[in-house]
Point group: C2
Chain length 263, copies 2
């Protein structure tokens, strides 16, 4: 492992990497930034390709403990605190940032515990909700997540933080709309939550092939997806709340499937 | 309805109300600030005592439509944009702020749809998680939420925003620890999620009296509550995620109870 030093935040490489905080640059370069020892260790374990690593001298012990055992061909840089701050998005930078490739996706859904279960995100906007959904999808063994257009980008810092490493374990289909016809040709039903549903999630058989559609936090699912829907679902609410948080509703349905499949 | 004008942010009343953004002042005065027409209308509907209202002239139409029909003894103030900004916590103030009393709590749990179901929050810290839990508790018809010490305050702006009005419908027991012995004397079991649980939430009978204990996001439930627990629960996770988001785990258990009670 050859370590290169970067002391100045005006270094052209650092200036280029800083741009990855914006979605359009991430999409162009097909890489994204991941901060923190715990998340990066999780990425290595999940065999996500790490291109380069930037860490401060003060964190040498953590680096040797959590990162060094996994290293293969990655470029490793020693950077100043000032440089690290440029790449970091947190108030208290954790001392290490990695550049990861997004091109391992979609990994094979067959590696997941429930390869016939998918989510389709139809305009979900809140990064915290998305991170929470990814975490629940991982826990439920979900085969993959299809991203519809106008849906928040999964590679932003807030999503990564609230997904807590689960992003590395759930196959991501960034161009979900391009994949949808194939799934439908394979007989996947599209399930949408709707106030017009006659069956509750407890009555509906949720065990087979399934794509669960999650709409926008305020507006719900789009007209287009509502027309495509083959299954309408509702979560019974004894209390008179208007609705549930989007990540909560998704998780309740995912785990109702977990329950039904255990019977 | 007599309307009073306040133009200057140095007005002593405004300066005093501004302090309500801090928990210690809210606790001392037993009132809290609520922003926005939708939330305030919901508060009126839920019969929460509103002490005073502050709105800008530009929002006269909204005021007449959403608020005026509910008015009784409340003090109403016309304020400048500058004054409203002092009381608001959002980047784009919604033009109205109300001062509400917290002393209607606990309302009678018997008004809820599931008066034998309670939550006890044991050190939960994230305001967004708390708001989401309150929203799910409302939807499940929960009889009340007991707040243990070191738990985030329910009257902060972020909680109110993510609870979306549900705070006004779920009885809140701010001094949860003072109420716990009474519940336990009445035979309420304390259910704690634990990796050591032998029964999953799908096997356990969750239909009777129940207090579900929710721990801190990072550290889980306290030693003290773990020792007091009478029921250990686990949510089966086919995927290998370490854990679920606290609000998600809570909601999955709440709605497993909803399912069991429907059978």
């Amino acid at each position: 492992m050859k370590t290169i030093k970067i002391e100045s935040k005006h270094n052209p490489r650092i200036k280029a990497l800083k741009k990855l905080k914006e979605k359009k640059h991430r999409m162009k370069e097909r890489v994204f930034l991941v901060e923190g020892f715990r998340l990066l260790e999780e990425a290595f374990r999940a065999k996500i390709p790490v291109e380069s690593l930037f860490y401060v001298a003060e964190k040498e012990t953590d680096f040797q403990r959590y990162i060094a055992p996994h290293l293969q061909e990655e470029e490793v840089f020693h950077v100043s605190q000032e440089v690290l701050k440029e790449l970091s998005d947190t108030v208290h930078p954790q001392g290490i940032v990695g550049v990861l490739s997004m091109d391992h996706w979609p990994q094979s859904s067959s590696a997941t515990k429930d390869p016939e279960l998918y989510l389709y995100l139809d305009g979900l906007q809140d990064p915290g909700n998305l991170g929470t959904i990814i975490r629940s999808a991982h826990a439920a063994g979900c085969g993959g997540i299809l991203f519809g257009k106008h849906t928040v980008d999964p590679y932003g810092e807030k999503v990564l933080r609230s997904a807590m490493g689960s992003l590395f374990h759930v196959p991501i289909y960034q161009d979900g709309d391009a994949h949808l016809p194939q799934f439908m040709a394979e007989g996947y039903p599209l399930a949408v939550t709707s106030l017009n549903a006659t069956q509750s999630i407890y009555e509906e058989d949720l065990r087979g092939k399934l794509i669960l559609v999650i709409g926008n936090e305020g507006k719900g699912v789009s007209k287009d997806m509502e027309e495509k829907a083959t299954t309408l679902l509702k979560i019974p609410m004894p209390g008179e709340a208007e609705s549930l948080n989007a990540a909560v509703a998704t998780s309740i349905i995912l785990f109702e499937r977990v329950r039904q499949k255990r019977l």
